[in-house]
Structure formats: structure tokens, C-alpha cells
Symmetry: C2
Subunit: 209 residues, 2 copies
């Protein structure tokens, strides 16, 4: 799991505030995750997530001191955008980014927990569908849901997916999953903190696309 | 049809060589065409085409004299890329761009010719499907074909599509179609010339994605 393990998320401080710079650093290694899915049809998903990251980074770079934490961004934009907020700026980008991250987290967690379709133990459709239903489905209209279902068929075999995650390393499936579990610790805590922040600041929306 | 009519393609010279600069100018008004389809699901298609244009423009800008015509680009890249060519550089970008342009041309032509599904005269699925089958289907694997079928359902009504094409102008449907016919003259000639050039230079590939 060279791809992700070399770029672990950092532990959260007591305050649970997420530092923008380290968050952006860690998250910049996420888009290549979609290449592990092995088909170019996932390109648009990768672009969408990369776009979110670029948008947040642009705000951060405009004034690194002012936007030291993700919370700083939301609070500043709330004032800046008024009634348009939270459907604006880096707030909107983070609102969607966190959903994509949650999808990845839930999918990896499901794999790490050994959940599988007993009839097709080498498929990851089961894990992907479960993660999709919990993280994204309610934010997608029927058309995007339908496209998801079609795209699902392009998902790789579990063995190929784990091999891709371990790119450049010779590890057994069990070792790879142990690394996934290790990666999930800080990753999950960071995502949880961002979700809690959106609730606390009343920044969550539930329109669907 | 303000969108396209204000930016007609220029007539071809006798030599049928396409000048890169005017081509890039005219084609830069094409991606917004996909906004007329009225759904954000077409975003990835728009990005793909915009990406092609950006790639060709970057090569042109690197040396406007050297790359004065599209043919100059193909000939120069053929030497530059050797065995990798034509699946490389701006040649590859133009190979795909011309297919997207052909799709648009055939769809507009079919509308202008009054072709329709007699049972659903206000739907453009018929025209879109016909254009897709002729211009793109053979370059798409079964998965992308399936996604196309799903996405088709998001296509707008004919009346809404024509209204969107006429953005900012009050024109009747018949006037709009007359303008489409006018637009198609140079547009079609340019696309034909590019297709002929790809054949003549043996630059066409038929792999599917
Ligand atoms: C040839 C015929 C072609 C026909 C056309 C094809 C159509 C293809 C449609 C593809 C959909 C791609 C997925 C992208 C969906 C996106 O629409 C959503 C919302 O996207 C957000 O929208 C906001 C405005 O509302 C802002 O623009 C955000 O941008 S902002 O930064 O500007 O604020 C943006 O991220 N993102 C999402 O739903 C996020 C999705 C994340 C991860 C999903 C994982 C799924 C994995 C699947 C594995 C099997
Ligand atoms: C939440 C779950 C989400 C799940 C995932 C969603 C998946 C969505 C898949 C969407 C596919 C979008 C269409 C894009 C297709 C593209 O794959 C192809 C080939 O694209 C080319 O590929 C080359 C390498 O082979 C180079 O990279 C080219 O790039 S280069 O510039 O670098 O050389 C590039 O254009 N272009 C195409 O087929 C062109 C398509 C053009 C127009 C199509 C019109 C259709 C209109 C439809 C109306 C109903």
C-alpha cells in the first residue's frame, strides 16, 4: 500500500482542528487512488475530487495565516458570502470532498473488515456499493445513480485492486490489509472531524446532483 | 443561435488546409454547446473536449509559425514522436476532437433536416443517437456505450435545446434551424477536411476506450 501508506494523515490535535496545510498535503495523494480502480471511466470522478482540492488550495495559498485551519476557511467564507454560503467557495469544495473521502474510507474499511459477497469473494462491488450507499447515494439524483451502477461493472477484482494499492511493494494480501487498517486510523479521525465541523457550523447541505 | 452563429467557422482555402489559429478561435466556442444540453452530467464530455483544445493550443502557442496549419502539427509530430505517433501529442488530441465535432455536426444536421421520432417529435434522443452511432460508438467500449445510453435520458426537449442555442435572441424554431443550416456550411467543410487529412497522413486509429 505504498501509495497511501507513505502519505498517512497526521494525528489530530486535542482541539480536533484540522490544519489546512497538512490536510492538503495528505489529500493530494488521494486522486491517484482512482487510478487503482483500473479503468479510465473513473477519470471524471478523479477530476471532480482534484477540482475540490485545487479550489481549497487556492484559498489557502491566498493567505496561509488567515486560513490556517479548515475551520478558519468556513468561518471566513460564511461572512464573505452571506446568504450564498455554504454553497460557495472552498466551503462547497470541502463539502463535496469530504463525501468522496468518506466513500474511500468506508470502502477501505469494508475491505479491511473482510466484508464480501460470499458468492463472489474476489469482487469488490459489494464493498463499493456499500460505501456508495452510505456516503454518496443520497446526494445523487437517479441519473448519476444509474451511471454509478453502470460504472460499477468496471471495478477491478479484489486481488488486482490490492496489488495496485501496494504498487512497488511485494506484500501479501493480509499485509496490505493490515496497512490499510493502519492508514484508516488518522484518515477516519480526520474525516470525522470535518463532518462534525460541518454540522457544528451548520454548513451541511443535502441537495442532490 | 447566438452561441454558434456569432462564431462561424471561416471558409476553407482551395488547398483545404486548416489554419490553426482560426480553427482554435472558432472551436473555443464549442464546449459551451454542452451546457445547452442542460444537465451537469455532460460536464465530463465538455472537459474532455476542452482538454483536446488546450493541448492543441499549447503546441500552437509554442511556435505559431511552425504550426500555422493543422497539417504542420501532424507532420512535425510524426517525426518528433516516431513509433509512438499518431497516439501522441496534439495529433491524438485532434484525432478525438474531430470525433466530438463530427458528433455535433451530425446531430445539428439531423435536426436541421427535420429528422425525428414520429412518436416523440419533441425529443432529440433520436438525433443524438443517430449522431452517436455514426461518429463515436465504434470508438467506445461497451461500458462507455452503456453510460451514453444512461446519459441520453438527460437530453433536453427539442424546444428547450433550440431555445438554449438561440440564447439572448428571440427567434422562431424555424429561424433557429435556418441559422443552424448556415453554421453547418463551413463547420462541415472544416471537419471533412480534417478527416481527409487524417486519412491522407495515415494518422487515424480505431482503438476504443
Ligand atoms: C459518451 C457519453 C458520455 C455521457 C456523459 C457521462 C456522464 C458522466 C457523469 C459522471 C459523474 C461523475 C461524478 C461527479 C459528480 C459531481 O457532480 C458531484 C458534485 O460535484 C460538486 O458539485 C458542486 C456544485 O453542486 C461543485 O461544482 C463541486 O466543485 S467545487 O470544487 O467547485 O465546489 C463539485 O465537486 N460530485 C460527487 O458526487 C463526488 C463524487 C466522489 C467520488 C465518487 C466515487 C464513485 C466511485 C465509483 C466506483 C464505481
Ligand atoms: C458517481 C459514479 C461515477 C462513475 C463514473 C462515471 C463515468 C463517466 C464516463 C464518462 C465518459 C466521458 C466521455 C469521455 C470519453 C473519453 O474517454 C474519450 C477518449 O478521450 C481521449 O482519450 C485519449 C487517450 O486514449 C486522450 O486522453 C484524449 O485527450 S488528449 O487531448 O490528451 O489527447 C482524450 O480526448 N473521448 C471521447 O469519446 C470524446 C467524446 C466527445 C463527445 C461525446 C458526445 C456525447 C454526447 C452525449 C449526449 C447524450
Amino acid at each position: 500500500m505504498a501509495l497511501l501508506m507513505d502519505h498517512q494523515f497526521v494525528p489530530l490535535p486535542e482541539s480536533k482542528e484540522v490544519a489546512t496545510k497538512t490536510f492538503l498535503d495528505s489529500v493530494s495523494y488521494i486522486p491517484p487512488f482512482f487510478d487503482c480502480l483500473g479503468s479510465k471511466v473513473f477519470g471524471p470522478v478523479k477530476s471532480d475530487i482534484s477540482g475540490n482540492i485545487t479550489k481549497i488550495k487556492a484559498i489557502y495559498d491566498s493567505d496561509p495565516e488567515k486560513y490556517g485551519t479548515l475551520q478558519d476557511i468556513l468561518m471566513t467564507e460564511k461572512v464573505k458570502y452571506g446568504a450564498e454560503w455554504p454553497k460557495a467557495g472552498a466551503t462547497l469544495a470541502l463539502m463535496w470532498l469530504k463525501r468522496g473521502l468518506r466513500f474511500i474510507q468506508l470502502m477501505l474499511q469494508s475491505l479491511a473488515d473482510g466484508e464480501k459477497d460470499e458468492n463472489n469473494p474476489n469482487l469488490i462491488r459489494f464493498n463499493i456499493t456499500k460505501a456508495y450507499e452510505q456516503a454518496l447515494k443520497r446526494y445523487h439524483g437517479w441519473l448519476v445513480q444509474k451511471i454509478f451502477k453502470a460504472a460499477l461493472i468496471a471495478a477491478p477484482y479484489k486481488s488486482d485492486f490490492l496489488k495496485a494499492l501496494s504498487k512497488g511493494e511485494e506484500v501479501t494480501e493480509e499485509d496490505c490489509l493490515a496497512q490499510v487498517r493502519q492508514f484508516l486510523v488518522n484518515f477516519t479521525a480526520t474525516i470525522d472531524a470535518i463532518f462534525e465541523m460541518f454540522i457544528a457550523l451548520n454548513a451541511e447541505l443535502d441537495y442532490s446532483v
